[in-house]
């Protein structure tokens, strides 16, 4: 009984900061009107009708596409990294994880800004390249730069959950497999990898969700040319002031994320293992 009482503040918190805003977004999404007063709005599906036209669908497609690619890249880069770290001795392992996490203490925006000076036409990297007598490269304001920004910023979200699952794998299982004559590759494919799937699932969700909704990375590293759905939503709220259209796009994005979550949780049989306590 006591526990229940203690939960009330959290329930109120959830209501005020999660449920009510969601309901407001839902309300705005299905109405139109110019003013900021809540009573003069009319019910309408215009916002959705407007969204389901080629211009905006293309933006959604592009966002999902680039978010998927960056998730896959994060997985390809992140898994071996998590694996290597998890195989180290405890003290070394902790230092490596610490080094991995330290950049995240710095503001996300600053880290992304830093890439501007690195990738610019006369930036650090191009300076090195031209010093070596080569032609400077176009490194910034394109899709690749946006992708780089995403992988750079979200990689830790892939590595940490996989790592925390990997270090918790019972050593006896690995030894048992080896005793039964499995070689290293077989141990990995039959024991380690299947046991690490909950971490992979969490990692995928934790990379995909911020990647599909980001607007800062595409704005700074993409030069505002490669608008993603996050940019469109930001634009509606910050400059155009069309909260209705912005809300309906947010709803569509949320549905997309829910589908991904449902999809990934299907694979996540070990419900308790997901994220190894990271969530």
């Amino acid at each position: 009984m006591k526990m229940k009482k203690a939960a009330y503040p959290y329930i109120i918190w959830l209501g005020i900061f999660i449920v009510i805003p969601l309901l407001l977004i839902l309300y705005f999404a299905f109405t139109t009107g110019d003013s900021q007063s809540l009573t003069t709005f009319k019910f309408s599906l215009d916002n959705f009708r407007r969204f389901f036209t080629p211009t905006y669908l293309k933006v959604l497609g592009r966002s999902v596409n680039i978010a998927l690619i960056s998730t896959i890249l994060c997985l390809i880069l992140g898994y071996p990294m998590a694996y290597i770290i998890s195989k180290e001795k405890l003290s070394k392992r902790n230092t490596m994880i610490l080094m991995f996490v330290i950049p995240m203490w710095m503001n996300f925006l600053l880290r992304t800004y830093a890439w501007l000076t690195l990738l610019g036409r006369n930036g650090f990297i191009n300076n090195l390249i031209t010093k070596m007598g080569l032609q400077p490269l176009d490194l910034i304001y394109n899709d690749k730069a946006v992708l780089l920004g995403m992988v750079y910023n979200f990689l830790p979200f892939m590595v940490l959950p996989i790592y925390s699952v990997l270090v918790k794998i019972d050593k006896n299982l690995i030894e048992a497999a080896e005793d039964l004559g499995a070689n290293k590759l077989r141990v990995f494919t039959k024991v380690i990898f299947p046991l690490s799937i909950p971490g992979i699932i969490t990692g995928i969700a934790m990379v995909f969700i911020p990647a599909v909704s980001t607007f800062i990375i595409s704005s700074l590293l993409g030069g505002n040319k490669y608008n993603l759905i996050g940019n469109l939503i930001e634009q509606q709220f910050r400059w155009t002031g069309d909260w209705h259209f912005g809300s309906s796009m947010s709803i569509i994005l949320m549905i997309f994320i829910l589908i991904t979550m449902a999809f990934t949780s299907k694979f996540d049989k070990d419900k308790e293992g997901g994220g190894g306590g990271l969530w």
Binding site: G120, R121, Y141, G223, N224, K225, R238, T240, G241
Partner: protein, 348 residues
């Protein structure tokens, strides 16, 4: 029992902090300005002189400012919108009438900048800075003559062109290129401008705001659409840069100081506006940011290189020789502007 005492002590401390805070509280004003648009030491001087604390924050475009103000939540005492935005804000009753008795320094402002269309009797606004929109280009990278907006559509400069990440200004460039008025209310003309911008998009390297200064000064791009004051600041840092006003004409703009209707400290706001109109202060701002002040006495105090600059203070002859238009409030057609801009920014 012990717990209650602790609680009581905590409450008493909180009350003491709140009351203590009130006792010392200095009057303050909230100033919301464009990014990079004031010499910040001027703010300190104002605080010292009048004992009013200034809470200073910045925005990037007129639309940004409008939406922030409309949404409420925060109240500002002095803001710096441009001509067409002032017109819109007056129309929507968002501004407070000024008491010009509290702003005697308005007498320093050149008459040419008073009683303009957007605020015929200066009931609401006091001019802060003015200027034009043009093309800044790097002489080492551009060998054509820059005298037309067409150059921004030249395939030769693919990935060398920077456009403004600002709805009104960028649509205006396309309208001007097509020979239309930048206040066009004709939907076909606006659609044509949209097509033109979509056609240009593959050539554009980036749509930037204030970052354009770093890009151009660093010699990273050849051509950029900029406001004249930024051009002055950039040319000061990189002598390879030059500024041109295209022959098709351009936008003449005025940014003015106004007080929102819901301002909390109107007297403080008027003091601040009056302070910024003092010639020595206006000169410091104009020198620092590079924009053109409407106060002749302030212009006289500026260093020669700025005072004699054609970019900051073009001659009357020149101003009469090109078609200059001031933005007007698009009123009902604003929805079309919003839609076109969203589509241009989303297009591929």
């Amino acid at each position: 029992m012990k717990n209650r005492l602790v609680v009581l002590a905590l409450i008493l401390t909180m009350v003491a902090i709140v009351l203590g805070g009130c006792g010392e509280k200095k009057p303050s004003i909230n100033v919301y300005n464009w990014g990079d648009y004031i010499d910040e030491s001027v703010i300190e001087d104002f605080e010292k002189e009048y004992g009013i604390k200034v809470n200073y924050s910045t925005y990037a475009t007129n639309e940004d400012l409008y939406v922030k103000l409309k949404q409420g939540g925060e109240s500002f005492d002095v803001i710096f919108p441009s001509d067409y935005m002032i017109e819109r804000m007056i129309r929507e009753g968002m501004l407070a009438k000024l008491d010009l008795n509290n702003i005697p320094n308005i007498k320093y402002i050149d008459e040419d900048f008073l009683n303009l269309d957007y605020d015929p009797n200066n009931e609401y606004s006091v001019p802060y800075m003015w200027g034009t929109v043009g093309i800044i280009y790097n002489k080492t990278m551009v060998d054509d003559v820059v005298d037309s907006w067409d150059i921004l559509w030249n395939e030769k400069y693919k990935d060398q062109i920077i456009m403004l990440n600002s709805q009104r200004d960028t649509i205006a460039v396309a309208l001007l290129k097509l020979g239309y008025s930048l206040n066009s209310r004709n939907i076909d003309e606006l659609e044509a401008a949209k097509e033109e911008l979509l056609k240009q998009k593959p050539l554009v390297w980036a749509y930037q705001g204030d970052e354009v200064k770093d890009t151009m000064v660093g010699g990273e791009a050849a051509l950029a659409v900029v406001w004249s004051g930024d051009a002055v600041a950039m040319m000061r840092e990189n002598p390879d840069l030059d500024y041109a006003i295209p022959k098709e004409g351009t936008n003449l703009w005025f940014d003015s100081m106004v007080i929102p209707a819901n301002a909390k400290n109107k007297e403080g706001a008027e003091l601040f506006i009056n302070f910024l109109c003092r010639p020595d202060i206006a000169a410091r701002n104009a020198d620092y940011i590079g924009y053109s002040t409407p106060i002749p006495e302030a212009v006289d105090m500026l260093p020669d290189e700025i005072k004699n600059s054609d970019v900051a203070y073009p001659s009357d002859e020149f101003l009469n020789s090109v078609k200059l238009e001031v933005f007007k409030d698009p009123m009902d057609i604003i929805k079309e502007y919003d839609r076109i801009w969203t589509e241009v920014m989303s297009g591929q």
